[in-house]
């Protein structure tokens, strides 16, 4: 009985191309999940794939925190080393990338900044610059985060972009770190064109965000 139903389902679905992206999505999602699961089980190949996919994002997040490029690369390497170490000790119960790596990298960057400041000042505590002006880490974090108004402005700007460009942008930037080649194959464009579109959208959103800060 279920075979008959299955057969019917397949004949019904075959002519519909609209279904394909959905299935591809499911397959890719499954791929991501199995990668994370294999990495949690200690599979080096899975770790390599995950690192290759998310490394750039980690480096960029460190750059955004004002870390120098060479140090950013070192810290990103250390981030992955720590995550793998934690996995080997059995301390990782689930692997949500890239957020876990970003958090770890932020922690390492803060630690690094603290240490270098301590080392640069060998004298007494009174000589520390934050003795006079206490450093509030939330200030810089707040500056990085967007205000509600900026967000809505950016959304409005994004809504005016052509639908295909918006799709490309959302695919490339939705936090799953799809490589540009993958985005290109999904929307049926060349990688060059995808990057071009990303740059255009980026320019529009930049002006939308900056407009707000000047006002």
């Amino acid at each position: 009985m279920s075979a008959a139903v299955q057969g019917l389902r397949m004949t019904l679905r075959m002519p519909r191309e609209a279904e394909e992206p959905v299935e591809a999505e499911v397959a890719r999602q499954g791929d991501e999940d199995t990668l994370a699961r294999r990495a949690l089980a200690g599979d080096r190949a899975a770790w390599d794939a995950l690192v290759a996919r998310h490394h750039r994002r980690v480096v960029v997040s460190l750059l955004a925190r004002g870390v120098r490029v060479d140090r950013a690369h070192e810290l990103a390497q250390e981030t992955w080393a720590r995550l793998i170490q934690q996995q080997q000790r059995g301390l990782l119960t689930e692997l949500r990338l890239p957020n876990l790596a970003l958090t770890q990298a932020a922690f390492l960057a803060a630690d690094d900044a603290r240490r270098s400041r301590r080392e640069s000042i060998s004298g007494a505590v009174e000589e520390l610059p934050e003795r006079q002006h206490p450093v509030d880490p939330s200030v810089s974090a707040e500056r990085r985060l967007l205000s509600e108004e900026q967000l809505s402005r950016a959304h409005a700007a994004l809504a005016q972009v052509s639908p295909s460009a918006r799709t490309v942008f959302l695919l490339a930037c939705d936090g799953q770190e799809l490589p540009h080649a993958e985005v290109a194959s999904r929307v049926g464009l060349s990688v060059q064109r995808v990057r071009q579109i990303l740059c255009e959208v980026r320019k529009k959103l930049r002006s939308a965000l900056e407009e707000e800060t000047h006002a």
Binding site: V5, S61, A154, C199
Partner: protein, 181 residues
């Protein structure tokens, strides 16, 4: 050795990962020596982080699709589990489990399956929420006559439920006064 200063474009390309390895290495080496260029690169990185935030908070189109005659369709859910799994990424389909399948013939199931398949394919369904159990039947009928989909209160987590509930569960010990055990 004097290296060229960064432009916005080159910084952007670097952030996007579009530069060749040699070019990006040269760019990195330059930012280590040149403070304004390092700041430019940081600005681009901040922008890219902000764009991630924008993309993640951008409201996606409504993807909730519910079959109209849910209680009938639910009987066929077991048979089309694979179909539902495929659609689950597109549509938020909640399957309250634990009920025996509706006794119906093979032909009946086949037609409901076909109907379900077709309905899943409908893009951008208009979703009607019937707020309470009292008006559910009339609401559902009115909506179905207009060709809309109906969302049942017991089939979803989003419809507000108003339950009367007093603060402490019965038999709970009070923290305010000493309790004799």
């Amino acid at each position: 050795m004097l290296k060229p200063h960064l432009t916005r474009d080159s910084a952007e390309q670097y952030i996007l990962g579009a530069l060749s390895p040699e070019a990006s290495a040269a760019l990195e080496a330059h930012t280590l020596e040149c403070e304004p260029c390092a700041r430019l690169l940081q600005e681009e990185a901040v922008l890219s982080e902000q764009l991630q935030e924008v993309a993640q908070s951008f409201p996606r189109e409504d993807r909730v699709i519910r079959p109209a005659r849910w209680h009938v369709r639910r009987a066929a859910a077991g048979a089309v589990g694979a179909a539902l799994a495929a659609a689950a990424s597109l549509a938020l389909v909640l399957l309250p489990g634990g009920r025996a399948p509706h006794p119906s013939g093979v032909a009946g199931r086949a037609t409901t399956t076909a109907a379900l398949e077709l309905e899943m394919g409908a893009p951008r369904a208009i979703v009607v929420a019937c707020p309470d159990l009292a008006t559910q039947d009339s609401c559902m009928q009115a909506a179905e006559e207009r060709g809309l989909l109906v969302q049942y209160p017991w089939g979803t987590g989003e419809v507000p439920r108003y339950e009367a509930r007093t603060g402490l569960p019965e038999g709970a010990l009070s923290a305010r006064h000493p309790v004799s055990l």
